[in-house]
Symmetry: C2
Subunit: 366 residues, 2 copies
């Protein structure tokens, strides 16, 4: 234990495992973030160097020091439903429990830095938002960007999603398409009187199995596209040749393509297996975000801390910042592979790596 008054005192006092455990102990399943938002708001309001605004269950705290650069650091308050892991459990340097990795560990780091660094070298906006784990219509960051863009504006942004201290830049886009293939019904004893739409789907699915996605390198990061069938539906009765097959595709596309270009690509891939009367419908789409590593704040964060960098293959809310013209990256404690699992947990070292790197950026600027 460090001596009272030592340079390490404030760090030593805030045990990030205990701080994260305190946040895990406040349930905040999507649509029920109020109690956690209250706690976060109270903590932030106690710091006189912060201006705090609350919009619904979204809490925004800002320094206003007139610095040349402003960094936005955002994290979501909500979790998926508990799976027998609703209560935090500390075991040495590991905290187990719902949301420990995704992403209350990140929130604990944010609260720690927001309340202890009163005079950062750059201005900072801390965004704690609701509704990330559910449909986009409930997303608090989306709400803020739409209704209060002044509150969340900045020069660059970091999103505290679990990356285990790696800088995961940009994100790939995601598009779901429903492909409807048509046939003609007939009795299965006389199938030549009809046409089996499921057999037609076979050729499409086999083509997907052979699909090799592009692997474009952007800002030195390799993205990797994918095209997967996620649902197939078809069938009328046990003795009827099916006249309809619906194949739902999920396409992940790199940030060098727009959604329109991505759609055109998918249509080209499947064109051989489509006929007049078939349909291709985009069910939903989320744009990709470019890596943004060129921005001095993100470049400095990487360089001064010798961070590993990789392309973010999944879609995250960094895309919302990118769409608002704010370069953004994912950077947080915890392993994303543990998110949404019963075994969700976070390690002390992961929390401290992120705290130290982000703290360094705030203290020294770009």
């Amino acid at each position: 234990m460090p001596a009272p008054g030592s340079a390490l005192a404030s760090t030593a006092v805030t045990d990030l495992i205990e701080a994260t455990a305190a946040l895990v102990a406040v349930p905040s399943e999507s649509h029920h973030e109020g109690a956690l938002a209250d706690l976060v708001e109270q903590r932030l309001r106690a710091a006189p160097h912060l201006r705090v605004d609350r919009v619904g269950d979204n809490v925004v705290a800002r320094t206003d020091l007139g610095r040349e650069q402003r960094l936005v650091v955002a994290g979501h308050l909500d979790t998926v439903p508990a799976d027998g892991n609703g209560s935090p459990r500390v075991d040495g340097d590991v905290l187990w429990g719902l949301g420990s990795a995704d992403m209350k560990g990140g929130l604990a780091v944010m609260l720690e830095l927001a309340t202890t660094i009163a005079e950062p070298a750059i201005d900072v906006t801390w965004v704690f938002y609701a509704g990330e784990e559910v449909a986009a219509v409930h997303n608090g960051l989306r709400t803020l960007l739409a209704e209060r863009p002044d509150l969340v504006d900045g020069d660059a942004a970091l999103l505290g999603e679990p990356t285990d201290g790696v800088l995961e830049v940009g994100c790939q886009g995601s598009m779901r398409l429903a492909v409807t293939l048509r046939g003609a019904r007939a009795h299965t004893a006389r199938p030549w009187m009809g046409r089996n739409a499921l057999h037609r789907a076979g050729h499409l699915l086999a083509a997907l199995d052979a699909y090799e996605g592009r692997r474009p390198v952007l800002d030195g990061c390799e993205y990797r596209e994918a095209l997967q069938a996620v649902f197939v539906e078809g069938g009328v009765a046990g003795n009827v040749v099916p006249d309809l097959a619906v194949v739902t595709l999920n396409h992940r596309f790199a940030p060098d393509r727009t959604a329109a270009e991505a759609r055109a690509h998918v249509e080209q891939v499947i064109a051989l297996h489509l006929e007049p009367g078939d349909d291709v419908e985009v069910v939903d789409v989320a744009d990709a975000a470019p890596p943004g590593l060129h921005h001095p704040l993100l470049a400095t964060l990487r360089a001064r801390n010798d961070l590993d960098v990789r392309a973010k293959l999944g879609w995250t809310d960094v895309s919302r910042f990118a769409a608002a013209g704010i370069p953004a990256a994912n950077f947080g404690p915890g392993d994303s592979a543990l998110a949404h699992t019963r075994d969700e947990r976070v390690e002390r070292s992961s929390l401290e790596v992120v705290r130290d790197a982000l703290g360094d950026l705030l203290r020294h600027g770009a």
Copy 2:
């Protein structure tokens, strides 16, 4: 109108269109055949040359003249649910309505011949049974063959399913198989971490699309096998690589194969696309029936009336007679393509062709 007492009197009195309409007017959806069974039983009991037995809603009437040969003529009492066509409508020489083709036209012919030919050249057993349009467990013919085989025994059998006066011999077997293909789940942004079971199913379905069934010729009749996917199920969530695909197949096999041989054939066709851990399960199976045209009663029916003959590709209850060692064929009025449709109907000429041919067989024997 023929003069009273003319040779045509009995034919003229019984208008088969009107007789069928009277049966269509008595609803007899599966599981609700009681009222129609009552009516049929009453009509049959009024004929002193018949011995009548009733087992549940199955009615059996027999001559007992000690003839050398006994023909069984069977027809089901039940219909599928009405589709706005529950009431009979006569339009000239056409009767429209639920069950007109499948198979109250056949029942009308059976009742007419059963009650008017008191001294046939062969003994006849008339079987009116319930529960043909639903699961086999409800099938009245199955019940009689199992519980009262003495009532339905004979040298050959005819089933009055709609064949529009063609002798449709034997029937193909039908087997449903559930093929379960396995993969491994992964996030669709990193599908190479898993394996898409639906993509695997694509190769299987494409192989089915290329399948060419055998066309064996038996007793001069060409059968035609088929193998169709009737259902495909698979999918976990819009962002998850599916780890399971279940393809349900329906195989129709000719009477020169047993069910075991048919199953082995299907397994051979799909073997290339199976891997350890996959499953093939026979969901249900119904045996094929050989054509039986060698039997003198069926051969005579064909020859004396110059009937067209073809293989029955669908499965019918003739298979139950065949399994009991009784050669059987399908022979009835009405077009099977109209069965189970809103536009179900039967034409007078079709009713009369069947009545005349069957009446001739009964009067003259083999």
